[in-house]
Amino acid sequence: YPLDRAAKDEADNMELLERYLENFYNLKKDVKQFVRRKNSSPVVNKIQEMQKFLGLEVTGKLDSNTLEVIQKPRCGVPDAGQ
């Protein structure tokens, strides 16, 4: 700290992704620290699940298209069954 701008943006984006996956794709709280382990398979699997459901290219990464879609307003009902 202080983070440089690019690092801060990436951290913000990862936090957004984390919340999105928690809220809508049942990402478990116990993998919440994935910002530091973003290549872990549970996280990649969840990103892939989200990308597949939303009709995005399935990369398993937070690419620009995925970031754009998860920033759009949406319904609060989770996409994954609870």
Partner: protein, 378 residues
């Protein structure tokens, strides 16, 4: 499409709703209309009907709230989550909550209440999110939707009909009997003097007048025509069709849109369709058919394209030589582009815009000029 785990659905077809409170973003009557219209979207394609309660517990309780609002799923301020709703069932189930930190509008300058309400009420009826990006039940809000011509995707129709089935064919299914009921047809009013049709065909003794995504079904025995969405009868057919005609000997109606055509028999769309219109013998320069009619006695079908027409031999299943010919030469008096045509009582009725020409094929002349909607006895 998908449904909620366990596929919860209402076990009755008449449901109640109540608007518990209002956003300050819109006049109350605009909110009322948006909710009514959103319910109507689903009522048009199912046997479901809705009535409004002013007090007490309704099946579907509709409310606006901000942040924490008593259901453990707090809203999040402007943007992001717009609303949420619960699947069918008692208590909070069936209810729809709207985040009042959004800027609700009746157009697309903010968050359009009708679009979001239609989506949430889909949840209230048992639909889960769809992965089909064209579907209303896709979870991401799409502000660019053309509100004036809103329609459910086939995916949405398939989804809701998997739970409740199609609407009963014997009724026009007036979903929400309120002052805004005429909006059921969007801008369509059967008595509008300017009304024109996309296509018209007979079907087993009735007459179907197609317009946009709907059609009027006129029986000669009943004065008042029924009004239906095309998808409620034939879910796989497109809206905004170009032409339609019945071949009575085959008990089949052929439906045309663009370079494709379908065959329907009663409620069933026949297998092997759509086919290209060019399989009928049209040249590649013909991209669409304006109107068509089949002469049951001569077994000839006439296809009208701009100012010309082709003649198809139904027995040989081939286009006749010597065509196209000018419409104006062989159908004098029918000088303009034809929107639709059908046969009744030995006359051909040609439609062009809001005008209708009764043509006597034997005398080869126009015998009456009428308004297009004269069949509705307005």
């Amino acid at each position: 499409f998908s449904t909620f785990p366990g596929t919860p659905k209402w076990t009755k077809t008449h449901l109640t709703y109540r608007i518990v409170n209002y956003t300050l973003d819109l006049p109350r009557d605009v909110v009322d209309s948006a909710i009514e219209k959103a319910l109507r979207v689903w009522a048009e394609v199912t046997p479901l009907t809705f009535s409004r309660l002013q007090e007490g517990e309704a099946d579907i309780m509709i409310s606006f709230a901000v942040r924490e609002h008593g259901d453990f799923y707090p809203f999040d301020g402007p943007g992001a989550v717009l609303a949420h709703a619960y699947p069918p069932g008692p208590g909070i189930n069936g209810d729809a909550h709207f985040d009042d930190d959004e800027q609700w509008t009746d157009d697309t300058t903010g968050t359009n209440l009708f679009l979001v309400a239609a989506h949430e009420l889909g949840h209230s009826l048992g639909l889960f999110h769809s992965a089909n990006t064209e579907a209303l039940m896709y979870p991401v809000y799409k502000s660019a939707t053309n509100l004036a011509r809103f329609r459910l995707s086939q995916d949405d129709v398939d989804g809701i009909q998997s739970l409740y089935g199609p609407p009963p064919p014997s009724s026009a299914n007036p979903a929400v009997p309120t002052k805004s009921a005429p909006q059921e047809s969007g801008t369509l009013d059967k008595c509008d003097a300017a009304l024109s049709f996309d296509a018209i065909s007979t079907l087993r003794g009735e007459i179907l007048f197609f317009k946009d995504r709907h059609f009027w079904r006129k029986s000669l025995r009943i004065l008042e025509p029924g009004f239906y969405s095309i998808s409620s009868f034939w879910p796989s057919l497109p809206s905004g069709i170009d032409a339609a005609y019945e071949v009575i000997s085959k008990d089949t109606v052929f439906i045309f849109k663009g370079h494709e055509f379908w065959a329907i028999r009663g409620h069933e769309v026949q297998g092997g369709y759509p086919r290209s219109i060019h399989t009928l013998g049209f040249p590649a320069t013909v991209r669409k058919i304006d109107a068509a009619i089949s002469d049951k006695d001569k077994k000839k079908t006439y296809f009208f394209v701009e100012d010309k027409y082709w003649r198809f031999d139904e027995k040989r299943r081939s286009m006749e030589p010597g065509f196209p010919r000018k419409i104006a030469e062989d159908f004098p008096g029918v000088d303009s582009k034809v929107d639709a045509v059908f046969e009744a009582f030995g006359f051909y009725y040609f439609f062009s815009g809001s005008s209708q020409f009764e043509f006597d094929p034997n005398a080869k002349k126009v015998t009456h000029v009428l308004k297009s909607n004269s069949w509705f006895l307005c």
